[in-house]
């Protein structure tokens, strides 16, 4: 993988070299009118119409050439001038080991000159007429791209798609040219599609905003914590015939094992009334729904209720286990839904609720789900004050009265003929 990457990078480099050599030998400007005192800048070479001396019908053009330095200074280049004796036009020529700049005079007035500029050995990244001459020329510096790689999510499961956005900003002092983006192949992710690829080839320095360069989507194929391979931007600057490259940051994405499809039982418990008198009954309906396409197994539905409520009766699915109403089902089919009624007797005054608790196997794990009903308000019954006293308070007088009545009746009969 690494070898492949290096080879790829190498190939791109070679391609760029070929491209730049081609450009370097072919930059020419024709019939450029330059006024006296103005100039023309090619990369950091500055061509200045220094002087036009008029004498009767003839004009003498003086062009100077400078090499601009990064520190703001410049160096005057050694320019060779040859004037054609016939037409009195002057040829200005700078020659170094690599670079050659020729400025051919084609016409000259007292205020401007028309020239052809031919160069060789320069990979031109910047060329511009400059008003005001040398003092107005600016050094063209190195580009420096800041590259970012962003992901739309950092926690995904296998099979999930993430979108990666690459942005760039030139924080250097010179334009970045011939930008190419390598989005960076991350093992463990499968490239799906490029969403946006039409990034600019050139980014000027000084723009404070990031420019969107590349958007693509890839799919997580392996679990684990993955540090994405940085994107690489390759670019160059003609001023300095060198290659640049910038690496983006590396977002970290956590890829979880793909979840198994499981069942989910949803539960509601609803009292039929929320206010009742002590000694009365209240029914709760429990609705149990499997909201998934997978059946739940070993389902058990329990009711958790206060001792002041006594379970009285309920639907036929209910079995009494340890004195408590329980519903058990070996399987609860996918998308199946049912309701179960539980009737309780309210023994005591108070505010109560009951909780329905379902436990089941969702296909992977044992799940417990609980839900609690609304509050029910149990108030004093009409004849409840009677219950304030223990039963014997009523029973004993009744027994006594009955005994007396029985005795009198029996006794009366004894004395009746």
């Amino acid at each position: 993988m690494k070898t492949y990457h290096i080879v790829k990078c190498g190939l791109i480099l070679i391609f760029i070299l070929i491209l730049s050599t081609g450009t370097a030998s072919a930059f020419n400007i024709y019939d450029e009118e330059i006024y006296k005192g103005d100039g023309y800048q090619i990369n950091n070479y500055f061509i200045e119409v220094f002087n036009i001396i008029s004498h009767e019908d003839s004009r003498l053009l003086t062009i100077n050439m400078y090499q601009l330095k990064s520190d703001g200074t410049y160096e005057e280049l050694d320019v060779k001038r040859e004037t054609n004796v016939n037409n009195k036009l002057t040829k200005h020529k700078y020659q170094s080991d690599i670079v050659e700049i020729i400025v051919m005079e084609k016409n000259c007035t007292s205020t401007y000159a028309t020239v052809d500029i031919t160069t060789s050995g320069i990979k031109v990244v910047y060329n511009q007429p400059v008003k005001g001459g040398l003092s107005s020329a600016k050094f063209i510096g190195e580009p420096s791209l800041l590259l970012t790689k962003e992901v739309d999510k950092t926690n995904v499961e296998i099979g999930d798609t993430i979108r990666v956005t690459i942005k760039a900003k030139n924080v250097g002092s010179g334009p970045a040219k011939g930008i190419t983006i390598d989005h960076g192949i991350t093992p463990g992710f499968t490239f799906k599609s490029a969403i946006y690829t039409t990034y600019p080839e050139e980014l000027a320095a000084g723009n404070p905003d990031y420019t969107q360069m590349y958007i693509y989507e890839m799919e997580a194929a392996q679990s684990g914590t993955v540090t994405l391979t940085p994107a690489i931007a390759t670019y160059y600057c003609s001023t300095y015939d060198s290659e640049y490259s910038s690496n983006s940051n590396s977002p970290v994405v956590t890829v979880a094992q793909e979840a198994v499809e499981t069942s989910v039982l949803e539960l509601t418990v609803t009292p039929h009334k929320t206010e009742l008198q002590r000694g009365n009954k209240v029914t709760f309906t429990v609705s149990l729904r499997n909201i998934k396409d997978i059946p739940a197994t070993t389902v058990r539905l329990d009711m958790i209720y206060p001792y002041n409520l006594t379970y009285e009766s309920g639907c036929e699915d209910i079995k009494i286990i340890d004195n408590k109403p329980v519903i058990q089902k070996s399987i609860y089919e996918a998308r199946y839904e049912d309701e179960y009624d539980y009737t309780f007797l309210a023994n005591e005054v108070g505010i109560y609720n009951i909780t329905a608790k379902v436990s089941y196997n969702d296909g992977a794990n044992n799940i417990i789900n609980e839900t609690t009903s609304d509050m029910i308000y149990v108030t004093e019954g009409k004849y409840d004050f009677l219950k304030e006293y223990p039963l014997y308070v009523y029973i004993i007088p009744i027994i006594i009265i009955a005994a007396i009545a029985g005795w009198i009746f029996w006794r009366r009969n004894q004395f009746k003929m």
């Binding site: 009969n413 004894q414 004395f415 003929m417």
Partner: protein
């Protein structure tokens, strides 16, 4: 503990028996619902009557203790019918008595003048005497004198028959003598019944009681066997201030007795029972008073029942040698019998001759 049988025959006997049962409950209308009968002995009471309405009227005698002898509604004061009725039902009556177990003494309470009670009692006593060993006493209520000739004649025959029945003694009560007990006939009956009942209960206590100075059934028998076999009972109650002497005297006076008698003249034997708190029962006073009585009549038994906090009550049982009142009654009875006989003969004659109807013999109606 003694076993005592009390039989009430006829309406009068039934009512007095009911009064005894009521008093044994403690008196009061509803006492039977909350109280137990406080007889000192085992007492069995049996009410016998031919009239079911009289039996139904009873309130304090258990239904099982009421024996109805089916004979329409009483025997209508006719002792001939009554006696025949007893003979017809003798077995039933005797069986009923037998079922009640063994007895030490029996009392038969009746009026002398009605039909059922007066005709059942003499043969019943005779039957009891023939069957059992225990003494049997008659308690006989004499009629108001103005009640008529039949009642008088019934009384005369009833008493005689009872006397000849082998009875161990006849205790007399007299409606005529006791009529002050009430303002009208009904309240007089109730008052007399209550008096008789109270005395009989006192007597039972005297026969079967832990007494300081003992009298017992034996003493009672001795007293009752004296004289002409006719006795009466006196009763008096102190008010907490009067002396025991005066109470004893009072019990022997017409105010205390059930039957008109001059005890000091006519008495033969007596038994005086004194009951009450010790403080009222001065032995010397009692003794002097008893001595005075015995000096007049003969033997006097005395018994004392100590009841803490109770004002003194005295019961006196006196047998009579002679009785002027009974003689007078018999004189009246003879007149009554003769009157009835004359009336009977006259009626028979009138029936024979046709009296008024004969006046038109031989005549034809003229139109």
């Amino acid at each position: 503990m003694l076993n005592i049988l009390i039989i009430g025959a006829g309406q009068c006997g039934n009512r007095i028996l009911d009064s005894i049962n009521n008093k044994a409950f403690g008196g009061g209308r509803f006492s039977k619902y909350y109280s137990k009968q406080k007889f000192p002995s085992r007492v069995e009471t049996i009410a016998v009557n031919t009239a079911i309405n009289d039996l139904k009227e009873m309130q304090y005698t258990k239904a099982k203790d009421r024996l109805h002898i089916p004979h329409l509604h009483g025997v209508g004061a006719n002792r001939i019918i009554g006696k025949q009725c007893f003979i017809d039902n003798k077995d039933l009556i005797m069986r009923t008595i037998k079922e009640r177990g063994d007895f030490d003494v029996a009392f038969v309470i009746t009026s002398s003048s009605g039909g059922t009670g007066s005709s059942f009692s003499p043969p019943l006593i005779e039957e009891l005497k023939n069957t059992y060993d225990f003494p049997v006493y008659g308690v006989v209520i004499l009629p108001f004198r103005e009640e008529g000739t039949i009642y008088l004649q019934n009384t005369a025959f009833c008493l005689k028959e009872m006397h000849n029945s082998g009875v161990d003694g006849i205790i007399l009560g007299d409606n005529q003598f006791l009529k002050y007990a009430g303002t009208d006939i009904q309240s007089a009956y109730d008052g007399i019944n209550s008096m008789v009942a109270e005395r009989i209960l006192f007597l039972l206590e005297a026969l079967d009681s832990e007494m300081m100075m003992v009298t017992d059934l034996g003493d009672f028998k001795t007293v009752m066997s004296g004289g002409a076999g006719i006795a009466t009972i006196g009763f008096a109650k102190g008010d907490g201030t009067n002396s025991i002497k005066s109470i004893i005297q009072q019990s022997l006076s017409p105010n205390g007795l059930l039957f008109s008698s001059n005890i000091y003249e006519e008495g033969s034997r007596a038994m005086i029972i004194l009951r009450g708190d010790r403080k009222y029962l001065n032995i010397d006073d009692i003794s002097s008073q008893i001595d005075k009585l015995s000096s007049h009549i003969g033997h006097v038994f005395k018994g004392v029942i100590i009841r803490n906090g109770e004002i003194p009550k005295i019961l006196s049982v006196v047998t009579l040698e002679t009785t002027v009142e009974l003689d007078n009654l018999y004189t009246l009875a003879v007149e009554a019998i003769q009157m009835e006989k004359e009336k009977h003969d006259r009626m028979a004659l009138e029936k024979e001759t046709g009296a008024a109807f004969s006046k038109i013999d031989g005549l034809e109606p003229q139109y």
